[in-house]
């Protein structure tokens, strides 16, 4: 089964660009002590991720309705967001108001959510043949 599809690649590239732009904007705003406006940039970032995930996920499903699309997109999002956050800190682009503990705590709690998603994915697998839900093969 093809795990990294064309649409997942396109989503990942979009996500990398958005995450770097978000990190840059976040650090700039914190540096300028615009603490009250940070939520706006975070909300825009969240909405944009949701939109590109929706578009490319739907395209992926239309091409071939594999049941694990949601999990693959979630895993890619987890890896990209946390990796960029970690690298941002390691190369010293963070401000004095950002600390690595927040990044690690986010990765841990989000990781628990991802693990639950993985367990659901394993259960769904029982109702699929070669990755496609039985109810969707001949519909």
């Amino acid at each position: 089964m093809k795990t990294i599809t064309k649409n997942l690649m396109a989503f990942s590239i979009g996500l990398i660009v958005l995450t770097i732009a978000f990190r840059f904007s976040l650090s700039s705003m914190l540096q300028n002590r615009l603490f009250g406006s940070v939520w706006i940039i975070a909300a825009i970032y969240g909405i944009l991720i949701f939109i590109i995930g929706w578009i490319f996920g739907k395209k992926d499903k239309l091409y071939l309705p594999l049941y694990d699309i949601g999990f693959r997109f979630h895993l890619a999002t987890y890896i990209i967001c946390n990796l960029i956050a970690e690298v941002w800190y390691r190369i010293g682009l963070q401000t004095e108001y950002e600390n690595v503990r927040t990044i690690h705590l986010t990765a841990i709690f989000w990781g628990i959510g991802l693990l639950i998603h993985f367990i659901i994915y394993l259960f769904t697998r029982k109702n699929a043949i070669k990755g496609i839900k039985k109810s969707e093969i001949f519909e």
Binding site: L62, Y63, L64, P65, I129, K130, G131, I132, E136, I137, F138, E139
Partner: protein
């Protein structure tokens, strides 16, 4: 609403639901008839069903991708008419076995004497 209008609406509603589950059978029958590319499958389905079945090429491609993925259909590329290469789809051994089992369990029962008589009887 007149009786004829009601009959027509009920028939359309029933046919709409009935046809949704029929496409796979028609696609498989067209491939049992021989290797075909998408436009030929479309023509076969529409002509052989007396145009009661219609299918969009996009929908056919999507279904064929699924069938190929689960191993009941495969394709080989062949020359098109003065154009790019075409994908000629065919039933795999598993696909043919699946179609035959489906027909045996779900279609052949319509050929029993009792059911046949019920179908042709107008009372």
């Amino acid at each position: 609403m007149s009786k004829n209008d009601q009959l027509s609406e009920l028939l359309s509603a029933w046919e709409e639901t009935y046809k949704k589950g029929q496409l796979t059978l028609w696609i498989f029958l067209s491939l049992k008839d021989g290797k075909k590319y998408v436009d030929e499958i479309k023509s076969f389905v529409e002509e052989q069903s007396n145009h009661t079945m219609t299918c969009e090429s996009q929908s056919l491609y999507r279904n064929l991708r699924k069938y190929q993925h689960v191993g009941v259909v495969d394709f080989e590329t062949g020359e098109g008419n003065k154009g790019p290469e075409r994908k000629y789809y065919f039933l795999t051994g598993l696909g043919l076995e699946l179609l035959n089992s489906f027909i045996e369990r779900n279609i052949n029962l319509f050929f029993s004497k009792q059911i046949k008589n019920l179908i042709i009887s107008e009372d």
